[in-house]
Symmetry: C2
Subunit: 394 residues, 2 copies
Amino acid sequence: MFELISLKNGIDNVDGFFSGGISAGFKKDGALDVAFIRSEKECDVSAVFTTNKFQAAPIRHFNRYPKNFKTNFVLMNSKNANAITGQKGIDDIDFIFENIDSIELTNPIMSSTGVIGYPLDKEKIISAANRFDFSSKNSNNCSQAIMTTDSFAKELCLRVELDNGEYFHIAGICKGAGMINPAMATMLCFITTDANIPKNDMDELLSESVKESFNKISVDGDTSTNDTVLLLANGKKSAYDKTAFGEALKFITKNLSLMILKDGEGSNKVVAFEVNGAVNKQEASKAAKALSNSLLVKTALFGEDPNWGRIASTIGAAGTTCDEENLEIYYDSVLVYSKEHPVLDEQTEQKAAKVMKNESFKITCNLNMGDFSYTAYGCDLSYKYVEINADYRT
Amino acid sequence: MFELISLKNGIDNVDGFFSGGISAGFKKDGALDVAFIRSEKECDVSAVFTTNKFQAAPIRHFNRYPKNFKTNFVLMNSKNANAITGQKGIDDIDFIFENIDSIELTNPIMSSTGVIGYPLDKEKIISAANRFDFSSKNSNNCSQAIMTTDSFAKELCLRVELDNGEYFHIAGICKGAGMINPAMATMLCFITTDANIPKNDMDELLSESVKESFNKISVDGDTSTNDTVLLLANGKKSAYDKTAFGEALKFITKNLSLMILKDGEGSNKVVAFEVNGAVNKQEASKAAKALSNSLLVKTALFGEDPNWGRIASTIGAAGTTCDEENLEIYYDSVLVYSKEHPVLDEQTEQKAAKVMKNESFKITCNLNMGDFSYTAYGCDLSYKYVEINADYRT
């Protein structure tokens, strides 16, 4: 057995990791926009990247390193994605790292978010990087610096206490508001741990936990060129337990992904779409993700209108095996449709509308056709989303 | 050779067809909401229906008729889709037709649009139907009565003049604003012709023309339970030519589908997304449709922001075979990205922004990877869309 203890100040708690963020002048009013994570000991790295065919320069730069390489440094910037910038985008990263002379770097990693198609301002980034205090522990500044349209910084840390009295830490920070979809998104997430975890376990557990978290959420169904989840382990503690680490990692990724959804551009509600009784796993997942991505469902959430017809229609449009006789739809515990109750009476409608006023709730669709389930997470679509995205670059 | 002459007043021009619309009291302020199309001679019928797994009662009612059945009557209503209403939904249609006693009906067809999950008010529809003037020619009332969130009635008519001096007519009316997606949508379209067209040609040409029109447009990527395109031919004229008819039908369906897009809920612009140089037809179509459905692309259109990065990213997210070296993106004739011009200079940006101020324009993506092309049509996403759909039922 083990215990998970929640700590404040993210990365700061993890032995041997340092982090911080400063302003290089990309954001207005001196807001933070360049950040780093450094480990005093070289780390193992596991990574999950975007499925977008246009992978940004930082990802292509990362992929040049040999398998199982170790690193001691991650540099991050916001406001410029360094995506679709050709070989120059990769060369720029090399140039930046060659010119950070205040510290020794081993296989340094870069990670960027922002607008596509513009070259990095190398000089500004180099000048900022040379002003870093590499022995600072300032996780909050680091997570602020990677924000784009995010309205709050996202960080979590757990101390994992094992039965034998030993413990280790695992901490995650992330950013991401729009462009979040079930196959990853403009979402950057950096997880650090001082656990003594083998590299094989890192790869296996990271892949599993991303599937159950970031890949289940959708703000707008788009998948960016830059999505990245990095797990860095420096083994500064001797403690490790695979089950405990797996649970802690799931807790971190699941809760960070829900924070992203809560911060979905202009969104007011986080909604779980649970599809049960599908004929196979694919159909369960396709139906749940269709619900979390449907414009008509998302606007009905915003309008707090328990219009279950849009739920049913979206499932049907996704090609799900289903029929009217077996379908049941719930808003939390309120049954709004079944064969026996095909028409929404006023009292039920009021109850369902009340559920929809909550900040988070669940819409359950029982297809009753098979044994497979999937839950996807989404949010509403508001005027604010349109406003933010009509005018992102300015 | 042949000539296409555009006529006003839709169905009214087609020999032997009658139509009209009245108020049954479903819409506010006595607006029209129940309509009919009648042919004095029994007609051949071809139909294309929604791919949604929950087909509405009117479609299931239609599909009970034997193959190659003939009809003389179509009844339409708005405000209630009669979808997910079980066997009762079909029985209600039978009951309605049994109680229209002022005219003899042969295999009558019903077609509905509106909210899902409520029983039809049979009595109101019957009472309205018995007040129809079955010898009226009032195509405009008919097309108004089927409107839901549409802001204008959509009708077109062509007189097709053949080389031998003979001619026939083909006319279409349709409705549809939201829920319009590349695989059909809450879209009803009724096409009538007095051409002497064989049933086989009707099926073949309708299927082709729907693929090139309604299946290429998207307002919000949703596909409704009720989508219907009907082609009714009464052979009142002796004239017919397959090529001429095919061209006329394509003209009607293409232009009606663009009217739907122009009337997309809260939309201000109609945009063609042309993808060229794909490795196969599937990828061309998938990429073009992804562009027309992307929230980030649609909001950038609304903001008139020539942010080509979102175009590229959306193509990449759709899994299209592509690379930065071969990609070219144009807004009309303005090249905004190519390997040689990877960065948008201010002058080009201004030119592209000017293109985006137009009511309609084209975004072209040359992938230069293969020989396949596809064009999809979409519109922008505005505050108005959110407003309309947050609160559709009230």
